[in-house]
Symmetry: none
Subunit: 414 residues, 2 copies
């Protein structure tokens, strides 16, 4: 597999105010032709740092792509340093000089002599035209089938230069075809990251022509499976076998693939089953309703709901009994159930879902600590309550509560 | 000047799908205490690459900060490699083990043995507590006054760890003082970015010892003012003068400063004025209620509300008239007002706020296109409706709708 190392130069990229979008663009584009980015580096306009970064890249990758530092000023040194590291001598290229002079002539401006360095390249380099600025790029082949590519910093210049020239040069140089690998994301809700890893240990240990990467994000565990077959078909074949194995082990906690979200999966289930739903939310304050309506067309299954943040609202809108609130408290299995039945009755929907809990940071006690959340799903012949103990700040507890309620609803719909 | 080198680890950061926000955060924060970031690097979960990056950093910087790779899995190797490069031996730290076991105990889950490596540190290291996850950070002092700092990958864990521990450790280690510059964020809602830029043009042109940077984000315009005086006092002085000028020009559209949000500002106003509020939401499906309850202690002003996504719910819960829906439609000035009055009546709160609109992508027509949203705020001697035409996808229209309703509420409370 062809490996790339990306270097972005420019002091402004180190201040935390300008995002390095070039490397994000290149990562995505290179993946499309089967080139794997193995690392990237951002350096200021400092000759030593730029040289070190290029040497680091050449030590482990086939190609190094730099962006930035091709301008006419004394700070712009990337091309010069790349040539120095490569041991390639630059010369003034006549036709590039002519192009530059023409650029300024057409703008009725004199060309500063300093710009001439933008017309200097080693003989073995391919000059990459820049139709939007004065800085051409450079494609410099080295020994060992390695390449250094220099592109300008502004994305609106660098992106078309990649698309129109660099991509084809890479395909030709490395005889690339469309990437033979195939990948898929498997989305899991319920178990924690280390638990998933333990459960998938055997599949990970056996990995030969595929690999798994785990990532935890807002209560979800994301498993990325990448299959590396001899060709696309073989990769897809491996992918479906590994997916099947993971599904067998993880069971119902696999809720979706790739771009699926808990909201989109629940929406699909509700539509397929022809069921309608309403919500009664306390500590989440509307987040569950928001998630259920993230999906276009949610009016097909979502009737509406109530935000019963105060106890008064719970009694008045949902008919939660005074007695229940006094005996068990607003955060209890009993109140969660009365809320869910209350909103089902009020709305006439097939299902009622409720959440009540303590999102914190205040309001917790020893018996009922911050993070204690009850959620219920009720319907004809159905009554489910889940008790959860979430840890985190207020925002995390609320997000986990709403997702966990969606997950409970999903499991009832399966 | 103290120099830092940042390393972000994680294969997902090389795919072009996940942004490396940690290094952006750290760059900004380090600048505040006068530490200069001289380079940064992103590497996959590959031991050699991580080691090379750490060595590169130590060769030119005083401190190296890594993010990511502190999890329990076999891919998580950053701390181990940092210790190897530093020649520091790790041991099981008893109290960290206890903390971990406690973490799992509180979640009623068994601790996988694999997690134990998160309790291993060299003796000379300072363990940085992580209140939101299982992975503590590490502050490892080396010879020559150099330091390696390891933080976890999730920004919601890494950011508070920097703020609460790393910052002070750095100030102590390098005897830093606060930078003589001072900066402030001024938050604006209402006018667009180019409109704000035009209005502030003169202040920007006159800038000598300060500068302004504008950024648009989810309907807000964020103006960052940085003052560069001879010392902190002079900078603060410049800052307050420029802030005053901006406030005079922008008027009430300035809603807050620094970490303020529309939610926090509205919450403060409601508390100060002793007013209670309830909401009636249609197209936002709960997002307004969610925003009003983002703030701890929101039960002091938020009674609750209703999500009247369907017309039936609007009539049944809020008493919106059949006639109004037929004559003007669900997305109209009239329906918005009836919804707001309806929820105020239902709840008995001082104020009622409503939103009804077309979030798309379907459901628009020539007369009522996607993005048309009405919001109303009503109370004793108060009745305000706002008609907005938002552009963007479903998520953007919903976010802008909820924020715009918060802003309308804010203006009524001023």
């Amino acid at each position: 597999m062809v490996k790339a190392y990306l270097i972005s130069t420019g002091t402004e990229l180190l201040l935390g105010t300008t995002l390095d979008t070039n490397s994000v663009f290149l990562s995505r584009k290179l993946a499309e032709i089967g080139v794997k980015v193995i690392g990237k580096s951002v350096v200021g306009d400092n000759p030593d740092s730029i040289a070190t970064a290029i040497r680091t890249g050449l030590a482990s990758a086939d190609l190094v792509i730099t962006t930035g530092g091709l301008g006419p000023t004394r700070d712009d040194l990337t091309k010069e340093i790349a040539c120095e590291v490569a041991g390639a001598e630059m010369k003034l290229i006549k036709e590039e000089e002519e192009r530059l002079r023409d650029y300024f002539r057409r703008r009725h401006r004199p060309m500063p002599e300093i710009n001439l360095k933008q017309a200097m390249f080693p003989e073995q380099a391919t000059v990459i035209p820049n139709s939007l600025g004065t800085a051409p790029g450079m494609f410099l082949p080295l020994d060992n089938n390695q390449v250094i590519i220099c592109l300008p910093g502004p994305p609106r210049e660098a992106e078309p230069m990649y698309e129109n020239y660099v991509k084809d040069l890479l395909i030709k140089t490395y005889q690339l075809t469309d990437s033979p690998s195939a990948s898929r994301i498997i989305r899991i809700f319920g178990p924690g990251e280390s638990q998933v890893e333990e459960m998938l240990q055997e599949i990970m240990d056996k990995a030969r022509n595929y690999n798994l990467a785990l990532l935890a994000s807002e209560g979800e565990i994301i498993v990325r499976v990448t299959a590396e077959g001899q060709n696309q078909n073989e990769s897809l074949d491996i992918l479906s076998k590994v997916t099947e194995q993971i599904n067998q082990i993880m069971g119902k906690s696999v809720f979706g693939y790739d771009d699926d979200t808990l909201s989109s999966v629940v929406a699909k289930l509700l539509c397929n089953r022809g069921r309608s739903v309403s919500v009664a939310e306390s500590c989440t304050g509307g987040l569950l309703g928001k998630m259920l309506t993230d999906i276009p067309g949610s009016s097909r299954y979502f009737w509406g709901g109530v935000l019963t943040y105060s106890n008064e609202a719970k009694q008045k809108l949902l008919g939660v009994k005074e007695e229940t609130l006094q005996k068990y408290g607003a955060v209890s299995r009993e109140t969660a159930l009365e809320m869910a039945w209350g909103v089902k009755r009020l709305s006439g929907t097939d299902l009622g879902v409720s959440i009540t809990g303590i999102a914190g940071p205040e309001g917790g006690s020893k018996e009922k600590p911050v993070g204690l959340v009850y959620m219920a799903v009720v319907g004809d012949n159905l009554e489910q309550v889940r008790e959860m103990h979430f840890v985190g700040n207020r925002a995390a507890i609320r997000t986990l509560s709403a997702k966990s309620a969606l997950d409970l609803l999903r499991l009832q719909l399966l």
